[in-house]
Amino acid sequence: MLRAIRRNKAAYLFILPALLLMLLIVFVPLLQGIYYSFTNMDQYNMGNKFVKASYEWIGLANYKRVLAGEGLAEFLGVLKQTMIWTFTNVFFHFILGFGLALLLNRHIKGRGLYRMLLLIPWAVPSFISAFAWRWMFNGEFGFINMVLRKMGFEGVAWLSDPVWAMTAVIITNVWLGFPFMMVTFLGGLQSIPRDLYEAAYVDGASRFQQFLHITLPQMKSTIFTATLLGVIWTFNLFAVIYLITEGGPYNSTQILVTFAYVKAFNNWQLAEATTYGVIILSLLIAFSFFYSRVLKMTEEK
C-alpha cells in the first residue's frame, strides 16, 4: 500500500483535495453524530446563536435506554416493522425484476418498447409518484377504492388501518423499485455467453435445467450485489413512507429511519435520534458483512 502510494505520488497528489473534501463531507458529520449519541442533547440544551450549548457527555446511557431500558419495546416494534418493510419489498423487487428480465431477455417483438414502459416508475421523481399513490390510496376519493367499489367490494381503509397502511406503502415502493432490479438483471442475463446455452442444449438440458445450471450460477454475483444494495436502500428509504403515511397511523408504518427523523425534528430528542442513527449504521454493516461471508462460503463449496 505504502509502496503503491510512493510509486504513484503524483496521482495521489491530484486526488488529495477531492479526498479531503470527501472526508470532510462524509466523516465529520458521521463522527459528530456518533458523538451526539453519547450526550444528552435535546432542544433545550443544544444551544443557538444566543445561548451556549450545555449538553453533556452521558456515556452509554442512550444506548442502554434504547437497547435494554424503557425504550426497548418501542425500538423492537419499529425494528420489526423495518424488517417487514425491507424484506417484503426486496422480495417482490427481486421476483418482479428477475421475472420481467427473463421475459425481456427473450426475443419477443417490441422488446424495446416494453423495456421503456417498465422503466417509467424509475424515471419519474419518486416524490411525485409517492404523492400520486397517496391520492390513489385515499379512502374516500382514491382511485383504488373506486375501482374496488365498482367491482362490488367494500373500500379499504388504506391509510387509517395499520395493516393496510403498511400494505399501501409496500405496494408503492414495490412499484417504484422493481425497475432497478429488472435493469440490473437484464444486463446480467445479456452478458451470459450464448454458447453456454447452446452447449447445454446439445448436452440435452431442458429449458428449466438450463436456467438451473447456467442462468442461476452465472447470475449469482449480480443477484448478490443487487439484493444487497436493495436491502440497504430499502432499509434506509425515507421518502416513500414519509410522504404517504408519515409513519402513521399510530407509528404503524414507522421504520427506523423515519422514526429517527420524527424523534429528531418533531420531538427534538436529538441524542436519541443520533443513537438510532448509529444503531441503523451498525445493523447495516453487520448485515453486509454477514451476507458477503455467506456468499464466500457458497463459492468455496
Binding site: 447452446e198 452447449a199 447445454a200 442444449y201 446439445v202 448436452d203 447456467i214 450460477p217
Partner: protein
C-alpha cells in the same frame, strides 16, 4: 454407422437471402471432413444445422441413414466442440465433462469411468478438480474435446476449435486431434477458415464461398486440380499466381502471351483448350509460387516458358525465399531456394514449370485444367 448426408440443404435467415444454398454432401463413416472457406461463407451455419442448433430451411439431413431434420440435438448422436470452448464456468472440469451424461441419467460408475478414460487420453487427469478459469487455453480446448468424447457420439462437430490458440499450440493440437480421430474411429466434421488446417487434417475438404460449395475432394485433388480461381487462390500458401493474357496459336503450337510472358503450353493440353474454345481468347494462367524457378538448369529445360519480371522484394524465410515480382503490372510470387542470387530492383528471367500450369476461363474463372 455414422454416415452423414446433406441433400439439397438450404438455410435462409431472411426470406430473400439464402446463407447456405443447395448443399449436397455425402460424408462417409469415420471420415474426417473439413469445411473451409472465408469468413461469412456459411461454414458455421452448415455445422450448426447438422448439430441441430439452427433449423434447416429446406432439404434433408441424414445421420446414419436416419432423417434427423426434426430430431433434438441430444438425440442426434453428435457432440459439438465450440470455438470459445463454452465450458460451464462454475463447474469443475470433472463436472463439465459429466454434465451431459448426468442429464442422460447414466449411472455414476459409468460416468466416472468415461470421464477418467477421456481425461487420460487427453492428459488432463490432474486438472479434473479445477475450474475452467484456472486453465490455459490449450487445456481448456482439451476439456472441450473431453466433454465431447465422453458422450461417445457417432459424429464430432468442431467449429474452429483451434482458432483461439497461439500458432505453436495450434500445430500441436492439430496433430492431437488427428491422433484422436484415429483412435476413436468416428466421423468428424471440422470447420476452419485456415487452409493449412484443412490441408493437414482433412480426409476430404469442402471449399465454400458465399454459401455455395466450390469443390469437394481430397487435399491433393484440391491442391492439384482446383475447380476455379477461387479454390486455387484459397488453398495453398503463398497463394497461387494468376496472370491474365491471351492464348494464341502459332505454327501448330499454343502459347500464353502477356506483356513479359511468352509461355508455350504442353501439347497434352491442346485438346482440352480447343474443346473449351479459348484459343485466340483471353485466359487466366495459374501457377503456384513453387513452380516458378530461377535455377539456370530449369531455365535451360523450359526455354519456351519464361517470363521477364522486375524484382520488388525478396523475403528470406530461412530455407527458402519468397520473391515478389512485377510482371508488367501483374504481380507474381516465386518461391526459390535461399541460396538464390536474386536481388531486389533487378530484372530477371524465370521459368514456369509448364506441367504444373493451370488455365482458367477469363470470364467464368472456371478451370480448363
Amino acid at each position: 454407422m455414422a454416415r452423414v448426408q446433406l441433400k439439397h440443404v438450404y438455410k435462409r435467415y431472411t426470406a430473400d437471402v439464402a446463407t447456405v444454398k443447395d448443399f449436397n454432401l455425402d460424408i462417409a463413416d469415420r471420415e474426417f471432413l473439413v469445411l473451409v472457406g472465408p469468413s461469412g461463407c456459411g461454414k458455421s451455419t452448415t455445422l450448426r444445422m447438422i448439430a441441430g442448433l439452427e433449423e434447416i430451411t429446406e432439404g434433408e439431413l441424414l445421420i446414419g441413414d436416419r432423417l434427423v431434420n426434426d430430431v433434438h440435438p441430444k438425440d442426434r448422436d453428435i457432440a459439438m466442440v465450440f470455438q470459445n470452448y463454452a465450458l460451464y464456468p462454475h463447474m469443475s472440469i470433472y463436472e463439465n465433462m459429466a454434465f451431459g451424461l448426468k442429464l442422460r441419467k447414466v449411472s455414476k460408475a459409468e460416468i466416472d469411468k468415461r470421464v477418467r478414460d477421456a481425461a487420460k487420453i487427453l492428459d488432463i487427469e490432474h486438472l479434473l478438480d479445477r475450474k475452467p478459469k484456472a486453465l490455459s487455453g490449450g487445456q481448456r480446448q482439451r476439456v472441450a474435446l473431453g466433454r465431447a468424447i465422453v458422450r461417445e457420439p457417432q459424429v464430432f462437430l468442431m467449429d474452429e476449435p483451434l482458432s483461439n490458440l497461439d500458432a505453436k499450440l495450434r500445430v500441436q493440437m492439430r496433430a492431437e486431434i488427428a491422433k484422436l480421430h484415429q483412435r476413436l474411429q468416428t466421423t468428424v466434421i471440422y470447420v476452419t477458415h485456415d487452409q493449412t488446417e484443412a490441408m493437414t487434417m482433412g480426409d476430404r475438404i469442402v471449399v465454400m464461398k458465399d454459401g455455395l460449395i466450390q469443390q469437394v475432394g481430397t487435399p491433393q485433388e484440391i491442391y492439384n486440380h482446383p475447380n476455379n480461381v477461387f479454390v486455387a487462390s484459397f488453398i495453398g500458401s503463398p497463394s497461387m499466381n494468376f496472370l491474365r493474357g491471351n492464348l494464341v496459336e502459332e505454327g501448330g503450337a499454343l502459347f500464353f502471351r502477356a506483356e513479359g510472358a511468352n509461355v508455350r503450353l504442353p501439347e497434352g493440353r491442346y485438346a482440352a483448350l480447343r474443346e473449351a474454345g479459348v484459343v485466340g481468347k483471353e485466359v487466366i494462367l495459374g501457377i503456384r509460387p513453387e513452380n516458378v524457378h530461377d535455377e539456370p538448369m530449369v531455365l535451360d529445360t523450359f526455354p519456351d516458358s519464361t517470363v521477364q519480371a522486375d524484382v520488388e522484394v525478396v523475403e528470406l524465410l530461412g530455407a527458402e525465399s519468397y520473391v515478389y515480382l512485377n510482371l508488367a503490372g501483374q504481380s507474381l510470387v516465386a518461391r526459390v531456394a535461399a541460396r538464390s542470387e536474386i536481388k531486389p530492383l533487378t530484372k530477371v528471367s524465370l521459368a514456369l514449370d509448364i506441367n504444373k500450369i493451370h488455365v482458367f476461363h477469363a470470364d467464368t474463372e472456371q478451370a480448363i485444367f
